[in-house]
């Protein structure tokens, strides 16, 4: 419902989107200005990864706490420097690594729809003036970092300090994800998404608790800060459900 408004006949005096289009475009322009057009200060470099261990037997214990296929409903509050947006999101993560997500407005209208499959990021629905690069390089990669499988063939364990054990998963030549866990409990503590030695996104995990149908505790609150695109996400998990069969994809 969001996207159509920019192309509605604007000359109708009482058209559904006559004033709305103007305001919506203004709103989107503001959103873009805030997110995409700001002058970005340099973000910090990632610390060098040292002390890679060969304790590969430990790797298995760092599997994602989520089932192979699942749907997750969450509240997402997006903060920028001057604004806050509030959405409900549904994410369907599938065993083959593909996923679909939708973000809904207050009355159930779909604001954003994303689909990821075979390393391809696709924005299906978004306000027309929102740059795809922001959504693909920022939001969708952050979703991928948070909810995709942590453990791959390119994963290694790092003994970060006395309290944390980290799993480093390389995603190609320039990117890696680091997930750090409390050493004793193996509960998630923080994570970061790194590209070319720079920390793109930093995540902390809070309110770790048990959800029905999940064998291990998961964080109910996730705070993510994207240093590159200058936004933060406050994510509150509302519901997680294991899926016993693959759902239809968005494509």
């Amino acid at each position: 419902m969001t996207v159509y408004s920019h192309s509605i006949d604007m000359h109708r005096p009482h058209g559904i989107c006559h004033p709305a289009s103007i305001r919506l475009l203004s709103c989107c322009a503001l959103f873009l200005t805030l997110l995409a057009c700001s002058t970005l200060p340099p973000y910090r470099s990632a610390p060098a990864i040292t002390g890679l261990t060969q304790h590969n037997t430990e790797l298995e214990s760092f599997h994602t706490p989520f089932p192979p296929s699942y749907e997750i409903t969450q509240r997402v509050v997006v903060h920028t420097a001057t604004h806050a947006f509030d959405m409900t999101s549904v994410l369907a993560m599938r065993e083959d690594g593909s996923w679909s997500a939708v973000a809904l407005g207050s009355m159930g209208t779909a604001l954003f729809r994303f689909h990821f499959d075979k390393q391809r990021y696709e924005v299906i629905t978004a306000p027309a003036s929102t740059p795809r690069s922001l959504l693909e390089d920022g939001v969708m990669r952050d979703i991928q970092h948070l909810f995709s499988r942590r453990l791959t063939d390119a994963s290694e364990v790092v003994l970060h300090d006395e309290s944390l054990t980290c799993l480093v998963t390389r995603r190609g030549a320039a990117r890696l994800d680091e997930y750090c866990f409390q050493r004793d409990s193996r509960l998630p503590a923080r994570s970061s998404r790194i590209k070319d030695g720079r920390v793109i996104s930093e995540v902390t995990y809070h309110n770790i608790g048990v959800f029905p149908d999940l064998p291990t505790p998961v964080p109910r609150t996730i705070l993510l800060r994207n240093n590159k695109w200058k936004y933060s996400l406050d994510i509150t998990l509302l519901e997680i459900t294991a899926l016993t069969h693959q759902t239809s994809s968005d494509e």
């Binding site: 419902m1 969001t2 996207v3 159509y4 408004s5 192309s7 509605i8 006949d9 109708r12 009482h14 058209g15 559904i16 989107c17 004033p19 709305a20 289009s21 103007i22 305001r23 919506l24 203004s26 709103c27 989107c28 959103f31 749907e71 409903t73 509240r75 509050v77 604004h83 806050a84 947006f85 509030d86 959405m87 409900t88 549904v90 369907a92 679909s100 939708v102 809904l104 407005g105 207050s106 009355m107 159930g108 209208t109 779909a110 604001l111 306000p127 406050d234 509150t236 509302l238 519901e239 459900t241 899926l243 759902t247 239809s248 994809s249 968005d250």
Partner: protein, 352 residues
């Protein structure tokens, strides 16, 4: 007192959350079971909780142009006199790409001519306020109520404006936006009448209405208290109107409903006779209008196929709004327990 999404304990809102979660949780579960059984056995249909029944006796008839015009005129006459309205609602989004139906619950307040507060209570509190053509959104963040932005705030303004027009029956003022067709639906539904005069003094009948094919829900109408909404999975999201809780014989009412709940095991066996002798089963004619709005603008049709408003045949109150999207997704907003002519505080419609 300003009403903000973080506020709790609003005794005027008939809080669904409070009703569902506190004193009557157990009773609601039991009543849901009863309701499901009623819907599956009394109406002679397959189980509400397992499969989708047909509406065999539903006979929709398309109103002619003349009758449609007269209908819209009558609606405008009747709803045009509404100065204030309060209704609870259930908002469901069915998405083809996802298994789950996303559900939100809330309450809306309307004050003529164009003040509307659309307040979500679950899954988390937030409120859209429309007043004087302006929209504001409030959300509870870190325990504090904050006015926040919304990427769809402008569009929401238009949607809320339309809702205010519809609530006062001004459909003809949107004829240039939508093509309209009106169907009148009439069907026979089971009416359960308490056999005991003592019970009948408090609950004179319970009408059982299945809307499963169109909305995936069924209702028990328990006049004058309101309705009970039952979902396909047998969960209940509503209970008779809060006035029932304030009834002089509220305890007695509770007891009756407990008694009904206690009969659930019998009804589980699947025959209507299990409901007797507590109830006498009668047939009741139930009518409603379905007003279908199809966007005229092709650009809009890319995103909304149609909007269907289901209206009571007697009061013309809007019971349900169903928005169909081309991808097959639907948004169903079911209104319950509408109350008109009540005093509404200005703070409900404050934008800042």
């Amino acid at each position: 007192m300003l009403r903000r999404p973080c506020d709790t304990g609003d005794d005027n809102s008939g809080l669904i959350v409070a009703v569902n979660r506190n004193t009557t949780t157990r009773m609601l579960r039991e009543t849901a079971l009863v309701a499901c059984i009623l819907l599956s056995t009394v109406s002679g249909q397959r189980s509400l909780c397992a499969t989708e029944p047909s509406n065999d006796n539903d006979t929709p008839s398309l109103l002619s142009a003349d009758k449609t015009s007269r209908f819209l005129h009558d609606v405008a006459d009747k709803l045009g006199s509404i100065r204030t309205l309060r209704a609870e609602f259930l908002q469901q989004r069915h998405m083809t790409a996802f298994v789950h139906t996303l559900t939100a619950r809330g309450v809306c307040h309307f004050r003529s001519p164009s003040n509307l507060r659309w307040e979500l209570l679950e899954p988390y509190p937030s409120a859209l306020v429309y007043s004087g053509g302006q929209v504001a959104k409030f959300a509870c963040i870190d325990g504090k109520s904050r006015r926040i932005d919304s990427p769809d705030e402008a569009l929401m303004g238009e949607v809320l404006r339309l809702i205010t027009l519809w609530m006062t029956g001004q459909f003809q003022s949107t004829e240039h936006i939508f093509d309209m067709t009106v169907h009148r639906h009439t069907r026979t539904v089971p009416r359960l009448v308490p056999s005991s005069s003592d019970v009948r003094r408090l609950i004179h009948s319970v009408d059982v209405i299945s809307d499963l094919p169109s909305s995936g829900t069924g209702r028990l109408l328990i006049p004058p208290y309101g309705s009970l909404l039952i979902h396909e999975d047998c969960t209940v999201t509503h209970f008779p109107h809060v006035s029932a809780r304030r009834h002089a014989d509220a305890k007695e009412l509770d007891k009756i409903l407990e008694t009904i709940s206690a009969q659930a095991p019998l009804w589980l066996k699947g025959t209507l006779t299990a409901a007797t002798p507590t109830f006498t089963v009668e047939a009741s004619a139930y009518s409603h209008y379905a007003l279908s709005l199809s966007p005229r603008d092709p650009a809009m049709r890319r995103f909304i196929t149609s909007i269907t408003l289901t209206m009571d045949a007697d009061s013309y109150h809007i019971r349900r709004v169903t928005i169909h999207e081309p991808r097959g997704d639907t948004i169903v907003i079911t209104f319950m327990n509408p109350t008109t002519g009540i005093a509404l505080n200005d703070s409900l419609f404050t934008l800042d």
